[in-house]
Amino acid sequence: MFRSFAKKSTLTGLILVSAAAQPILAADDYKLGLVTFLSGGAAGPFGIPAQNAAKLVLETLNAGQLPAPYNTTGINGRTIVPVFMDEAGGATKQASEYRNLVERQGVDAVVGYISSGDCLAVPAVAEQLKTLTVLFDCGTPRVFEENDFKYVFRTGPTATMDNVAAAHYINETVEGLKSVSGINQNYSFGHESWADFNGSLNQLKAGVDVTTEQFPKIYAGQYGAEISALMVNSANVIHSSFWGGDMEAFLLQGSARGLFEDQTALLTTGESAMYRLSDQIPEGTILGGRGPFGVFAPDTALNRWFREAYTSEFGTPPTYPAYKMVQGILGLKLATEKAALNVNGQPSTEDVVSAFEYLEYEGPGGKVSMNRGKGHQATMEMVYGRYALQDGKPAVTDVRHYAAACVTPPEGMTSVSWIEKGMPDAQCD
């Protein structure tokens, strides 16, 4: 008797707790899956800023209070209900978690993915389940260079754009450039970043020596031997696409040993550390933000709102992962609302796909053009600058902008072959 009562009570309790944990959905709510790192090494610098940005912008969108043209409620009038999921665990886990999001949670669309490995694994499942998916941050160009996806879009620039722009920047601004060295993580993003940077620099300026190429394990944390190798094989510029804790540890250890006193560091994701380690980044360090994000973003009403609201809510200015998350959500909203103009009621996924292809819109980082990968891959201008302290506050100087057409392969050509052929049809000022 007691056992039966206890069982029933426990079951009822579990149902109640589980019901309380689920958001209460109205029939016309828009359920949006949001996948970003909530644990592991990428959570602090990337995942959490992206999640914070998503929470902020969804709340404001649902209230219809975003600056125009985003000042309509939710997505096509439907209140957005976020379903957050942790990206940690690797590509295989993410592919099955994606299936859970769609089949069990019943999301209308998914915005997510920071890791290039996840961005290569998830689209096949998205295509199978015919679910609109927006990749917001990952960098590998292979997603759309090696595949044709119907339901998958990427609203952020690729790593090729980062690194070609970085090569342009040092070619233009480093006097007497004779040598470079590289330290990049030993996985696809690190290898591709170095190959794109080194390849494009070779095309821009002949005779630049590579003194050493280091590829330590991701999350290694200890770079003493690599720093010594960079000192022994001294170069004018040290290229690194390190991100998150790896970049921060490399900065701390390199600064303590004076590595950056005779050599200039070029950090393609350095913008994400400029507030966290403002007194450890040597002045003159070349910083990128994986596009016109963060400190490199243009002075627009949308960007002003975003920076002020984010800083006020979270106590620190938004870095590029936060910008890219907002850009992904706004792209989805605009495409859905554009598709809705031609149909009665809510548009189908196929309608939104058609509207999303070749869409051009303004994000907090400026103009986004979905003009590569048959309309599924965004291009944006790229920006680099040098770190400086102005009145004791972190800032960038000597900022240079590179048009998307200058740093992006033409449609139908892979990044590798475009760079190998001397970057034909690049339109640089």
């Binding site: 602090g44 590829f215 003493g224 022994v232 250890q253 380690l277």
Partner: protein
């Protein structure tokens, strides 16, 4: 010459870091026959405790040199607390179980502690770099080394000596050796084996948190750091022989120097070389280089 000095210095610094992590792991295995997967979490807790307390301390405007004492205090305090909690709260109920069961138990503790760390400190990174830069640097054949890293070599050597001296030259150490050789006979002779286990586990835990606290100033302290180091620590103790302090030292030196040589001479093999060395050692000596001889009971 510059290259050789660089390889030696980098190898020694890396080896000293590896030894700090591996010492506690091998001590616990040597005495208790527990391959403690949770040692990675002890390292992470030490790093978080050190980084956050140094942050509080320096934010209070206290003299920066005191940060080293804060690091030491954070390591000892957090190590004692977590060591006692894990050993008294859980492991003592499992003594006598198969070694594989104990690996699974400590792996479960590792996973639980990873989430406890996230609950306690969140997922954002912590920095405590002031102690790392405060000591300045030394120039050696044109290469600069952080004095903090050089100090690590001496600290590791001191800990190695203290462990050796404690185990071989003190009464408590000799009693512990009796427990290592045959815990049943040691118990018959009146040695309080349970207390020995508790003390050993707490010392091992403090060594883990000490390694974490000393590493914290040079890194970004973030979730997952414990899992990263435990794999390396296993490689070191397996090469040297599980349960041997001398083995841990030798394993750390072999891995440190081999990795350093690879980074300087053939960077592509940097990761391979660690596990390549381990595979070669295990192929010829499956018990590791300095495994403690075990008597067969018939």
């Amino acid at each position: 010459m510059k290259l050789v000095i660089a390889m030696l210095m980098d190898g020694m610094i890396y080896a000293s870091w590896l030894f700090l992590i591996a010492a506690g792991l091998t001590l616990i295995y040597g005495v208790m026959r527990i391959l403690n997967m949770a040692h990675g979490s002890f390292y992470a807790i030490g790093a978080y405790a050190g980084a956050s307390l140094v942050g509080f301390y320096l934010a209070g405007g206290y003299p920066p040199w005191g940060a080293y004492l804060v690091l030491l205090g954070a390591a000892i305090f957090s190590g004692i607390i977590i060591g006692l909690l894990v050993e008294r709260g859980l492991l003592r109920f499992m003594y006598g179980r198969d070694e594989v069961v104990m690996i699974l138990v400590t792996y479960a503790i590792l996973l639980i502690l990873e989430d406890v760390i996230k609950l306690a400190w969140g997922v954002d990174a912590y920095f405590a770099y002031q102690p790392y830069t405060l000591l300045g640097r030394t120039k050696l054949v044109g290469l600069s080394y952080a004095n903090y890293d050089i100090a690590l070599i001496f600290i590791s050597a001191s800990i190695c000596f203290l462990l050796w001296w404690g185990l071989n030259r003190t009464r408590q150490g000799k009693l512990l050796q009796a427990v290592i050789h045959d815990r049943d006979t040691a118990a018959f002779l009146g040695i309080n084996v349970t207390r020995m286990f508790t003390v050993t586990f707490v010392i091992g835990a403090v060594l883990g948190t000490f390694a974490g606290a000393l590493t914290a100033p040079g890194i970004s302290v973030m979730p997952g750091i414990g899992i990263e180091v435990i794999i390396l620590a296993f490689a070191v103790v397996v090469i040297g022989g599980l349960g041997s302090i001398g083995g841990a030292l030798t394993g750390a030196l072999i891995v440190g120097l081999a990795r350093s040589a690879s980074v300087h001479l053939y960077p592509e093999a940097e990761l391979f070389v660690i596990y390549g060395v381990m595979a070669v050692v295990l192929a010829f000596r499956p018990q590791g280089l300095f495994a403690i001889a075990t008597a067969r009971k018939i």
